[in-house]
Amino acid sequence: MVILSILILNKAGGLIYQRDFNEGLKKLSSNDYLVLAGTFHGVHAITSRISPVPGSGGLEVLESDQFRMQCFQTLTGTKFLVFAEPHQPNIDVVCRRVYELYADYVMKNPFYQIEMPIRCESFDRHLMAYIKPKQ
């Protein structure tokens, strides 16, 4: 499984984590990533509004010719966006695992300020160890 990139959005739609793992997506400026995160946050809310059937949640999987993105929103409103190569199954498992790592190495870190950008060395390390050997 090739994971291209992972983004984490806080509940206000602010980007708190961005990391590329493989070539495939263009490298944007940090400002562009922030704009992108904000846009997606809004789009995500609208996608549940325009549902033709009642009770739909927001966007879960986005597909394009060159990638597939899985969005996992936690009950607390944090969003995990995992970009992978097209037609990759089971990315939701990756999302869950990243959430678990986030809960462990970000939320249990006494030096992390909630809703702020994630700068946790052990989170990086464990994320790397989880994503990289999958190829």
Partner: protein, 238 residues
């Protein structure tokens, strides 16, 4: 999220503090509640079926009970944040953590010796007490012995206790501007108290020595007091 469990509990219930029993402590402590309003047994979260608090149990009963690593991580995180509010520098913070650990170590030594029962003996040699720390104390706290015990080449009075991945630090990422900090200073405090309590006065500090394989590797530097070395030198077979 994590369901990790430490094989052994870092914190075990200690013998009840007489001050609490005499009702000096705030009325919110479970013990005083059970004394003042014994009919309040509807919440059986903290009480055994006998309606007695964990402090009334025999000390050996919870010997092998386990504790959630996650709940410890949250508690320890709060302890660090609490300490951080009261200090100005990294050294101060480590000192605070050391003190927090120290009071645990004092009680822990008592408990461990009590549990050893008749076979318990008072360690009189430096190596003996270090083995006690690396084996018994460490096994009790973290469910595994320490990863290494070394003698300093440069200084006669210094020993190094090595932990490749301290359980207390597993979820902690120290920010770059505080890179000197190692929160295992808390464990250093426990070790220091055990050594002090066994009449090996010493100073214990925690230092991060990251390696490729063990990025969280921590060395506890144990510096014994002069009196310890003096005593050691007059001991037989030395």
């Amino acid at each position: 999220m994590s369901n990790l469990h430490n094989p052994a509990s870092p914190f075990v219930p200690f013998s009840p503090n007489p001050a609490i029993q005499s009702g000096v402590a705030s009325p919110t402590t479970p013990l005083s509640i059970s004394q003042k309003t014994p009919q309040l047994g509807s919440s059986n979260l903290r009480y055994a079926s006998s309606r007695k608090s964990i402090y009334d149990r025999h000390l050996n009963r919870t010997q092998r009970s386990e504790l959630s690593k996650a709940s410890f991580a949250f508690l320890f995180g709060e302890m660090i944040q609490y300490a951080q509010k009261q200090v100005s520098g990294i050294q101060d913070l480590e000192k605070k953590l050391n003190i927090q650990g120290y009071s645990i170590g004092q009680r822990l030594l008592e408990l461990l010796l009590h549990r050893e029962g008749r076979s318990a003996k008072r360690e009189t040699r430096v190596l003996g007490i270090l083995q006690f720390v690396a084996q018994t104390v460490y096994r009790h706290l973290f469910g595994k012995p320490a990863d290494g015990l070394e003698k300093s080449r440069d200084n006669e009075d210094e020993y190094m206790l090595i932990d490749n991945d301290p359980a207390v630090n597993s979820y902690i990422s120290v920010p770059r501007e505080m890179s000197q900090l190692n929160c295992a200073a808390f464990v250093a405090g426990i070790i220091e108290a055990v050594l002090d309590g066994s009449l090996f006065p010493s100073r214990v500090t925690a230092h991060s020595v990251p390696t490729e394989q063990y990025p969280m590797k921590t060395v506890f530097l144990i510096k014994f007091d002069e009196s310890v070395l003096e005593r050691e030198s007059v001991m037989p077979n030395n």
